[in-house]
Structure formats: C-alpha cells, structure tokens
C-alpha cells in the first residue's frame, strides 16, 4: 500500500515536473482580467495579441495598446498605476509569462491560427478567467495527440519541425 502511494506520488511529481505551469496562477504587476476584457467587453484576442496571424509569437500588448482605452477609462484606478507609470516613463511593464515553452521548442502561432485553430483550443476559456492560467499541459505528447487526431493537421513526424 505504501509502495503504491510512493509510486503515485512519483508519477504525480513527474507529470508536474513535465508541465510546471499547468494551473499555476502567476502574480502580475497589473491584475489584468481576461474575464473582464474578453468576457464582459468582448474584445477580440488580436486587439492585444496582434502578431498571432503572422509571427511565431502572438505578441504582448504594448503599453500604448492599454492606453488606447485607459487614458479615458479608470484613469485613477490604483491597479492601473504601473500602466500609467510605464506610459509616463517610457519603460515597459514587466509581465510574467504564463505559457512557457522550453527553449528547444520552436512553436509557431501563425501556422496554427491560419489553419483555423481557435485560440481557446490551447488557451482555454480565457473569457471566464479573471487570472489567466495554463489549462493545457503543453508537453510534446499533448502536441502529438492533437496532431494525430486532427485529420487536417500536419503529421509532425519530423523532429526538426519544432526542434532545431
């Protein structure tokens, strides 16, 4: 019985070590809520992540993007002080990454978006997340599973597609 317990713990630990970010809540300088911006206001993903269709990285919104609205709205909200400070001083906001891939993985957002994949398939229902968390394991098995199940997806049989 104890052996089973240790085994389960080891298994759990190894799964956790493989996908360290799964379900993790990351402290951000600004408590940005996707639930509010996407869910309530209905902002389009590409408004803040403009490169998702043409670059490997979806891109983070520049301070200017925030200020498009927030130079009019909630101009003295305490939570937005780092945004105003960034805009005033010209220094970037130091966000923390939520979805982190290892350095030897070269993922390309644009290919997936152009293939018609919805953002939510990997990032979950962000419109219901006040604090964004990683909902998919983002490990290699997960990538391959999806590519095997989708009839239209590339077969990903070449390592060098993602690793180089």
């Amino acid at each position: 019985m104890a052996g089973v317990g240790v085994g389960a713990l080891a298994l759990g630990l190894s799964a956790y070590a493989r996908t360290p970010g799964l379900g993790r809540v990351v402290q951000q300088p600004v408590p940005f809520s996707h639930a509010h911006h996407v869910g309530s206001l209905g902002l389009e993903c590409r408004y803040c992540h403009p490169h998702v269709e043409r670059a490997p990285s979806a891109g983070y919104p520049s301070t200017e993007t925030c200020m498009h609205c927030h130079h009019e709205l909630y101009t003295d909200a305490a939570a937005l002080a780092p945004v105003r400070e960034s805009w005033r001083a010209g220094t970037p906001i130091a966000w923390r990454r939520v979805h982190v891939l290892p350095d030897h993985v070269f993922f390309d957002h644009s290919v997936h978006v152009r293939a018609g994949l919805e953002c939510s398939e990997c990032h979950g229902a962000v419109e219901r997340m006040p604090r964004i968390t990683q909902v998919a394991p983002l490990d290699m098995g997960w990538c391959l599973d999806c590519h095997r199940q989708q009839p239209r997806a590339a077969r990903l049989s070449d390592c060098s597609v993602c690793h180089r």
Binding site: P20, A55, T63, T65, R96, R164
Partner: protein
C-alpha cells in the same frame, strides 16, 4: 604530426582562452548534487519564477516580434565600403549578409564582414572616456581640448588610415578650413605603393578595377586578388564565372601564380611558380621579354631554367589573348615593378577590357592634396608645429613596425587623443582615449573598391558613452552638436536631394550611379623603363616574406574569436601565427612542425613556431601580420612579427637570421595531414578532356548496394533537400565556415581545444596536396558539411534516437534526446559531427546568438542541419502566400563569394541544384560506402597549359 596527440585532462593545461569549468572532484560533485536536489524540492517550482515578458511601450511599425527585420547598410572595413544586409531581431543585429545590390558584394561577404556582429557585442570593447588611464568624461575632454586649442592654427592634427567615407572627409575638410587642421594618413596594408606605381605609369594616382569575368588568362605576381583586398569578394565571384562549367564562351580562364609564399590565388591556380622575393623582379622582366615590351633593356635574369620556361610559356599564353588576359601585381610590390606590369597590360591591350582605372577612391597622401603623410607629421612634430594630435579609429602602434617611430612621436606631442573601438596599444600611449561607435551603431557612408557609395545606417540604438568619428571630430573645434544623420544627409544633399531619393538609397544600400568611371589612360613607357633597376641580383641567404594575414588582415581583426579560429586556407592553422618554411629548408636544419625558431632581422628578434608548408619556396621564411588576440588569449599564443620590418613599406627581403631553439609549441591546426590516402576525395578533370567528350573517369560500380535501412520504406515529403558544391569555383577562403558559425550560433573553443581536435565548425574545408603536372605542389580545397546521407550510418547507432531522418531528406539532430555517447560520430565516415565537450557557448555573447536556433549545451552532439531553421521559415512563408516553390539559401551558400554552393529541392527537376546534380561532373564523396549523400560535389575542372609539365 610527428608527435602523438596530447589529450589534456580536466583542469590541466588550461589556457585562459579555454571555456572550461573549474575542476570538479567527486566529493564536490556529490555535494553540489545534494544541494541542487534540496534547492529543487524547497522552491517547489522546477522552473522557478516564470520568466519576464517586456513588451514595447509603443510598438515600432517595422518590427514584428519573432520575425527578423533586415537593413541594408555599408560598413567600412579596413577603409573600404562593404555592402551588407543586417538581420536584426527586436532591434539587435544577429547576422550579416551581403547586399546583392552592392557591386563589391553581389550578395556575398568576406569572413571579416561576417564577424562584425561579434565585434559589435565584444565585451572587451571600450565603453568609457579615459584620461591618463583613469575614467573621465566627454565634458572634461572638451575642456582639455578648449584649453589646448587656443594656440596657433595648424597645430591640431588628425592621424588616420585611408578612409572612403565622404562624410568623414567632408568633416575633415571643414576642420581644415576653419581650424587649419592637418590630416595625416598612413596605410598599413601597403596600398600606397600601388598608387605610386600608377602615378609612375600614368602620371597620376589611380585605382585599378579588375574585370576577371572578361579574362581568359590571368597571371598574378605575388598578388592575391581573391582574398583580403577591398574587391576580393567580387573578384572571387567574377573569376569563378570565368572558370566554371559549362564553358559557354570557350575554355575556362587559366590562372598562373608567381609568388614568394602561398596565396589563395596561388592555391587556386593551374600553374604556380614559387620564387624568392628577390627573384620577383626577374620574373616580371621575363614576362616583359616574353610579351615583347619595346625598349626593354637586356639583363641577366637570376632564374632557374624551369622558372624561365614557366614564365616564357605563360607570357606567350598571355600574348595570345590580347584584351582578355591580365597580369596582377601585388599592391605592395615596388612601384617601379607595378608600373612595368601596367605597361605590360597596356601592351596586351588589357586596359579598358580586363582592367579598368578609376580615380582613387580612398583618401591617401599619394592621391589626395587634402591628406598629408606620416613622414610630414614626423617632421612637423620634430619642428614643434604640432600641439594636439587625434589618432582616429586606428591603432598605428600595432599596425606599423616599431621602426616608424610612432611611440616616440606620440611622446613629443603635448596633447594626444585616441578614438577607437578598443583601449588598444595606441590608446594606452595617448593622454586621452575616446570610445568609438561601431559601424552597426551609427550613421555614416563609405565607398566600395570600384567607387560605389553606400549609406551606413544604424541597426541598433547606440548605448553607453560611445560616439561616432564624426562627433569626435566636432569636438576639436567645439562645433555646435549636430546629429550624425544630419551630417551624413548634408554630405548627400545634392546627390540625394529629395526625401524619396534618400530613402531609396537607404533601402537599397547604394547610391545609384556613384561607381567610378574608367579613365582611358596609357602608360608613359619611357618613364616606366626609366624606373627599372640597373641590375637584377638574387639575394643570398634566407629571405623574409611578409603577408597580410588571410583572416586577420594587418592584425586588426585579431580580437575576433571567430576569425582567429577560422583555419587558414593554406596551412589550416588557427589562433596565432607561425613561420612558414619549405620542407627542404626544414630538413636541412632538422626543424619539425611547431619547433620554435628565433627569427632575426635588422637587430630585432622574434620567436615563432615553425610550420613546414610544401610548395613554399626554399630560402624564404613566410610570416603574416597576425599579431594580436582577444585579451583573454594567453600571451604565449600571440607573436608580433612587426619588429622584423624596417618600415611600413617593407614586405620582406634578404638579411634574415634563423636560429633553431629547443622548445616546441604545438600548432593549433585543424588538419594535420596533407593527402587523401589515394581515395580520390577531390576529383578533377581537365577542360581538354571534357572537350573531347571524356568527363570524369568512370567510377567503379559501387558494390551491390547493401544497407541496414530498408530501401524506399520511408515516407517522402514533396520537397527533398540537397546540396551541390562546385570545386572549380570554391577557392577555400572559409567565408562559409564563419557564416555557418554566426547563423547557427556555433561557439569558438580556443587554441587548446583546437589542439585536442574539438573545434565545433559545422562545415570544414579540407585541403589536400598533390603533385601538379608541372611538378609544383597543388592545393585542393573541399568544403565538407554534413552529407545528409539517405542511408545515414549515424542514425542506426544512436541509442536514444537523437538523430533522425526527416521526410524531406534531412538528417536532423534532436539535442534534447542526445546523451552524448558519440556513437554517431564514430560511425560517420565523413567526420562531420561535432561534440560539445564543455559548455563552449558560455564564451559567446548571448546577444549575438540566432534566436531561431537552440543553444547547445555540454555533452551534446551537433552538426550541419542544412540551416533547417531557414527551411522551416521559408516553407511557412510559402504556404502563407500560397506558393508551391520554396526558395531557401543556406548560410554558407548565401555568403560564398564564388557561388560554389547551391542548395535546393532535388525533387524538383528544374531547380538549380537538380540541374547541377544531373551534370557529368557530379560525384558523391565515398560513394562506395552506399551512404547516398545528399551533399554532392561538382568535380574540379582545370585548364592546364598543354606544354607545362606535359
């Protein structure tokens, strides 16, 4: 190698240049292991705090994160403009490519240009103002200048190397008018002799522009047009076009080389004659006689019968091709000899055809009334007429022999300033040192070897306290501050008047229509003949021959680890320099490779390791100006040969002493054998045999194809990648090696690791020696990247599946699966796999790394990937545009000046690589092993003179 290879053990024999971690005992290893485990379990988060993401405050329009942005620019390297395209990621340059629009580049680059990103990020670069060795400020410097500057006009001087920058010259001219500033120029590469030679022949200084693509017969006289000169990148491409199959316009160009040490051109030539430096005049004389120069006085020529016959036949060959032949003399040969060669070219009707003459491009005392010479500066300092001296962007104390007396001269000037990229030797002897911007950081302009002007635009925002040369000049007269952009635009106000013209010039990287115009000149034969020496004597005893280094130029690129580790194309020596000796001389004196020699001349003594080089002329000791290294390089690895030269016009001659010392220094060479053991690795054919319909001698049928891999069982993608290397075009210059390193973030390993055979180059250039038909030694170069075998022996033996075959024919490495057994390398017949013995990448500034490539860790095998990152990007781009065809250039292919490398889809019969592979000269390396390499070679075609050595 006469001695067994020493295998260094961990922690012993470690030079500071080595990238090794401190020796680790078993006990400390276990301790640190325990600590790591504890830390891991305590933090509870294997990844630690998630990494930061710093978006822009205001995103620039031109930048897409994750996609590169390219800027055309022109960098001044050793004074000459090189047209380049810089790849930047998020505002930082990562890669240099050639600018296809620039006539000096046509898309290719030199090794030195490739190393510029490394130079930009060099942590050893100077970053602050220094006064008397202590940190100071620009304000303090301006104050010091203001206090000194109140004196008489004309007391302020600038000392620089020749420059082709119109803006810099304009600023200097402004100071000349306002301040009476005197501008003195010295040329460490010896080009002043070339201008003097042109003046002697034509009555005025002119720059030659060679048209090697029009030449059928070329003879070089101690010259190396294919490497190291301002036009070499273009010339290598032009010559390759005149020499490669299918020879639409008649037989390929024939190349003769007469020289006193190996040059790359000599290694590439059909026929090569190795002579002593003192015999060079006789060789020119024999040519003049053979060509039939009227009025040539009779002289007894100190030449052996074989050499005499060589020159006679060569001269006859040249004379048989009027208007399509060319004789090229070395730029630092005596002016009278160069003038004689100009007269010969005129006699052969080559001027205006294979050789054009344009007004001098670079500022030089020989060519320009605005410049004065170093001798004049010396005289003015003696006379006390110099109050302030600014040494601008150069290191004359290193670049000139001590006999020029620069050190004493600097002592006698009341206020000396040095502006440069580094706190170099000159900086430490001057009162002030001012840190200079790199060409990738600021605005500027420069002209190429044939006159085309190009704009230099910044590719990243300048940091720290550095300033441009233009700004530093404006300190001298306390001129109101104006941004560099405004100064450069001012220079081009007339030529690029409106905004559109300016932006077009910026985008293209060249100013349209600015190339030099050929001047129809004829040499004054009487003056040329009047300059000839009265008698021709061959010196007795040993002679010295000094060359510009093929990688480090006059030593100025010595701080580049990339260039230091690039093997010399002839000797395969990396890191440092050696004394080249003929095998005969070495045998006479009992010298072996690496034995230290004391070379003495004119009272100076220099210790150099011996390097025995077949084909080097007997009686000559060859050295190159590779005298500096990065600050971390142990002093024992660098050798300064400058003391052997009398002055900057001294490139060798008699009066050399040689003493054999007892010590040896193991040479850091990447290839220690000279022969291919009869395996015919470099195959060649003669043009005559080809013309008779006889191609390559037919290869024996490979044994019945046996393989452990099932044939045709693998799925195949639509595109199949492959490469072909044309050995007729390849000169072995090594640009591909550096381009591959910068593209794939391949670290350097240092001299001690090279000695252990651990260099990491993904593409190497093998060079073999063979006996030529004329009895001389011939060198053959062969670039060897990964062959991407269809039956790859490496894939079968990997226990972890870390090397895999892709459906489009790539042999891919998966670094994260690699556990470092090195079985793959053992099983690779081409030895193209490299192993990371230490964490070498730690020595590379991370900013210079390509973000599209993994940084490899210690214990991982790596090798050529056919630039898979470029393939994948190109494939996705083609798909996004809905195109079927995917055009990819590998880094080596793109940089190659002679276009020897072609990469593409071998599944598409219309691609260039397929057409090459279908040719009769194509062969695979070690085809008998049935590995089916995707990289194949086009056999070398030589066009020897039928009578020479027949």
């Amino acid at each position: 190698m006469s001695r067994g290879r020493r295998l260094p053990t961990l922690g012993t024999g470690v030079g500071r240049e080595d990238v090794r971690e401190p020796p680790l005992s078993r006990r400390s290893f276990l301790k640190s292991l325990g600590a790591t485990l504890a830390a891991g379990s305590l933090s509870g988060c294997p990844g630690g705090e998630p990494p930061e993401a710093l978006p822009y405050v205001v995103e620039p329009e031109a930048v897409t994160p994750g996609r590169p942005t390219f800027y055309a620019t022109t960098l001044e390297l050793a004074g000459w403009g090189h047209g380049l395209v810089i790849e930047t990621h998020l505002g930082r340059p990562t890669k240099v490519e050639g600018n296809p629009e620039h006539p000096a580049s046509l898309g290719a680059t030199s090794s030195q240009a490739q190393a510029q990103v490394e130079a930009l990020y060099d942590p050893a670069r100077s970053h602050a103002v220094f006064a008397q060795g202590a940190r100071a400020s620009w304000t303090a410097c301006a104050q010091a200048l203001a206090e000194a500057g109140g004196a008489r006009p004309g007391e302020v001087r600038v000392l620089s190397e020749p420059t082709t920058s119109p803006s810099l010259r304009r600023e200097l001219a402004r100071l000349g008018e306002g301040l009476g500033l005197g501008w003195h120029v010295y040329d460490p590469s010896g080009r002043e002799a070339a201008l003097a030679g042109a003046r002697l022949a034509f009555g005025r200084a002119l720059d030659p522009v060679l048209r090697l693509d029009r030449a059928r017969v070329v003879l070089t006289l101690d010259a190396d047009p294919l490497l190291g000169g301002p036009g070499s990148v273009r010339y290598a491409g032009d010559l390759a076009r005149a020499r490669r199959a299918p020879f639409a316009g008649g037989p390929p160009a024939r190349l003769y080389a007469v020289e006193s040490s190996w040059t790359l051109t000599g290694a590439h030539a059909e026929h090569r004659l190795a002579l002593r430096p003192s015999q060079l005049w006789a060789a020119a004389w024999a040519l003049a006689r053979g060509v039939g120069l009227p009025g040539l006085p009779e002289r007894a020529l100190p030449l052996e019968p074989g050499a005499r016959r060589f020159l006679e036949l060569a001269a006859r060959d040249l004379a048989a091709h009027p208007g399509a032949s060319l004789i090229v003399a070395g730029a630092h040969a005596p002016p009278a000899l160069q003038a004689l060669v100009h007269a010969l070219n005129a006699r052969l009707n080559n001027i205006g055809h294979t050789q054009e003459w344009i007004d001098p491009v670079a500022a030089s005392p020989e060519a320009d009334a605005a410049c004065r010479s170093l001798a004049q500066l010396r005289a003015d300092v003696e006379a006390g007429r110099v109050g302030t001296l600014l040494v601008l962007g150069c290191d004359p104390l290193q670049a000139l022999p001590p006999g020029e007396g620069l050190a004493e001269l600097l002592e006698r000037v009341p206020l000396t300033l040095h502006a440069g990229l580094y706190r170099d030797t000159t900086a430490r002897r001057c009162d002030w040192h001012l840190p200079l911007l790199h060409g990738l950081e600021g605005w500027g302009d420069a002209r190429g070897f044939e006159g085309t002007a190009g704009l230099q635009q910044p590719t990243l925002a300048p940091g720290l306290a550095r300033r441009s040369a233009l700004q530093i000049l404006r300190l001298l007269d306390d001129a109101p501050p104006r941004p560099d952009l405004e100064l450069v635009r001012g220079t081009w106000r007339e030529r690029l008047a409106d905004e559109r013209a300016w932006h077009e010039a910026l985008e293209r990287g060249v100013v349209a229509g600015s190339a030099g115009v050929h001047q129809d000149v004829t040499p004054d034969l009487a003056r040329v003949l009047g300059g000839l020496p009265a008698e021709l004597t061959q010196a007795a005893g040993l002679e010295l021959h000094v060359q510009l280094d093929r990688r480090l130029h006059d030593g100025r690129f010595g701080r580049s680890r990339l260039l230091q580790e690039l093997p010399d194309p002839i000797t395969k020596l990396t890191w440092g320099s050696a004394a080249l000796l003929a095998p005969e001389d070495a045998a006479d004196r009992g010298i072996e490779d690496g034995r230290l020699l004391e070379v003495s001349r004119g009272g100076a003594r220099v210790e150099l390791p011996a390097l025995i080089q077949p084909g080097h002329p007997p009686g000559v000791v060859g050295v190159s100006l590779a005298h500096s290294g990065p600050p971390t390089l142990p002093a024992a690895e660098t050798r300064d040969v400058q003391p052997l030269r009398r002055d900057s016009a001294d490139w060798g001659g008699p009066g050399l002493g040689l003493r054999v010392l007892s010590d040896t220094l193991e040479l850091a060479r990447t290839q220690r054998h000279d022969h291919d053991a009869g395996r015919e690795l470099v195959r060649s054919a003669t043009a005559a045999a080809l013309a008779r319909g006889r191609g390559l001698p037919s290869r024996e049928d490979p044994r019945p194809a046996q393989t452990l891999l099932g044939d045709g069982a693998r799925p195949r993608a639509r595109r199949q990648w492959g490469m072909s290397v044309d050995l007729t075009a390849c000169t072995g210059c090594g640009v591909c090696v550096v381009a591959c390193q910068t593209e794939n973030s391949i670290p350097t390993v240092g001299p001690a690791e090279v000695r252990a055979g651990r260099e990491l180059h993904w593409i190497r250039i093998d060079r073999y020696q063979r006996q030529g038909p004329d009895g001389g030694v011939q060198l053959e170069h062969q670039p060897v990247p990964c062959m991407h075998c269809e039956h790859a022996p490496c894939e079968l033996v990997c226990p972890t599946g870390a090397t895999q075959h892709s459906e489009d024919g790539l042999n891919a490495m998966v670094y994260n699966r690699c556990i470092g057994t090195r079985y793959c390398s053992n099983n690779c017949p081409y030895k193209v796999r490299r192993f990371n013995f230490y964490y070498y990448a730690a020595a590379t500034p991370t900013l210079a790394n390509n973000p599209d490539v993994s940084v490899r860790s210690r214990g991982v095998m790596e090798k050529c990937s056919y630039c898979v990152q470029r393939i994948r990007v190109a494939e996705r781009a083609a798909r996004a545009r809905g195109q079927r065809q995917v055009v990819v250039q590998t880094a080596c292919e793109q940089a190659c000046p002679s276009r020897a490398i072609v990469f593409g889809d071998v599944g598409d019969p219309d691609s260039e690589v397929s057409r090459r592979k279908a040719g009769p000269l194509e062969y695979a390396l070690l085809a008998e092993l049935n590995t089916r390499p995707r990289t194949t070679y086009t056999a070398r075609v030589r066009h020897p003179h039928p009578e020479l050595g027949a």
